[in-house]
């Protein structure tokens, strides 16, 4: 575009000028591409969930009450991460540290419950090597668990500077991204819980 042409238009008001808005928007774009990756794995699971090679299917293998416990733990963790995010914006240092550490503890609990469930499946002979359905299932759940692990590492990395130095502009921005990451994972879990577990037990 030439200079004169650009001068003709009034500059539009751009709400994404400051660094905070640009970073959170960019992070949102990343989260949506992550959403796309989960959707691809979901599509694989949807295509393969009946290919059990004569073995037990979702109805026989999934332990719904245990999955329900995982869901409650993750939901409460998401609740606390939201409170943590609000505390950061209010510059409440003690609140921020408390809520993010509570999220951390609940995240560990979630992983532990999930690991318990999956190792029970493997012990019963239903590992990812058994059939296409279980390969797709372990890929989906494993990808989710890896995201949670990185979320937990991220909490440690971001909370330590807050404990040491307090809250500044940088930590507000970073902790907001972390909050969005965790809340996004909970939305993915809604779909895993509804489609993989609840609908798996129906069929």
């Amino acid at each position: 575009m030439t200079q004169s042409k650009a001068m003709k238009h009034e500059p539009l008001p751009d709400p994404y000028q400051d660094e905070y808005s640009r970073t959170t928007f960019g992070f949102w774009v990343y989260l949506l591409t992550d959403f796309m990756m989960f959707a691809t794995i979901f599509a694989v699971y949807a295509v393969l969930h009946k290919s059990t090679f004569g073995g037990p299917g979702p109805k026989e293998l999934f332990d719904l009450p245990s999955v329900m416990n995982q869901t409650w733990v993750l939901l409460v963790a998401t609740f606390f991460v939201g409170f943590g995010g609000a505390s950061v914006h209010r510059k409440h240092r003690a609140g921020t540290i408390t809520y993010f550490l509570l999220t951390f503890i609940l995240g560990i609990t979630f992983l532990w419950l999930q690991f318990d469930d999956l190792s029970l499946l493997v012990k019963r002979g239903a590992s990812w090597k058994s059939n296409a359905f279980l390969s797709a299932y372990f890929t989906l759940i494993g990808t989710f668990a890896v995201h949670i692990v990185f979320g937990l590492l991220w909490i440690i990395v971001l909370i330590l500077p807050v404990i040491k130095r307090g809250i500044d502009m940088v930590s507000v921005r970073r902790l907001t991204c972390l909050r969005m990451f965790w809340q996004f994972l909970n939305i993915i879990w809604i779909f895993i819980f509804s489609i993989v577990y609840l609908l798996g037990v129906i069929q």
Binding site: A39, F42, A46, F83, A86, Q183, S194, I195, L198
Partner: protein, 114 residues
């Protein structure tokens, strides 16, 4: 600058509301599946609808989607991604179902072959 989103970044209220809605919807979906003997079609529809409602509520109350100032880039990008995902997931299920139907030998087809 920082609280551009109607002060929602500072408030505990939308998080609490979203949390209560999520608790109710999750419990409802679980109870429908475990306690009621409905037909599979009805159950599937109910679980999918409850899940989608909960996802939308969490997007609004937790991630403040749709509340950002104009132009709504966050919302537009989300809607475009949802459109792509519907094509990707729906298309995969559809095409693989037909492929399986046409290519893979079923048991009675195998019997006819022998």
């Amino acid at each position: 600058m920082i609280d551009a989103h109607h002060g929602w970044n500072l408030s505990f209220k939308p998080i609490t509301l979203g949390f209560i809605f999520s608790l109710i919807l999750t419990a409802a979906a679980y109870r429908i599946v475990t306690h009621y003997h409905l037909s599979n079609t009805v159950l599937t529809a109910a679980v999918v609808v409850l899940g989608c409602v909960q996802a939308v509520l969490q997007l609004i109350f937790f991630l403040h989607i749709g509340l950002e100032s104009k132009p709504h880039w966050n919302t537009m990008f989300l809607l475009y991604m949802v459109f792509l995902i519907i094509i990707l997931v729906g298309g995969s299920i559809w095409i693989m179902h037909h492929l399986g139907y046409n290519v893979m030998p079923t048991m009675d087809k195998l019997h006819n072959m022998w």
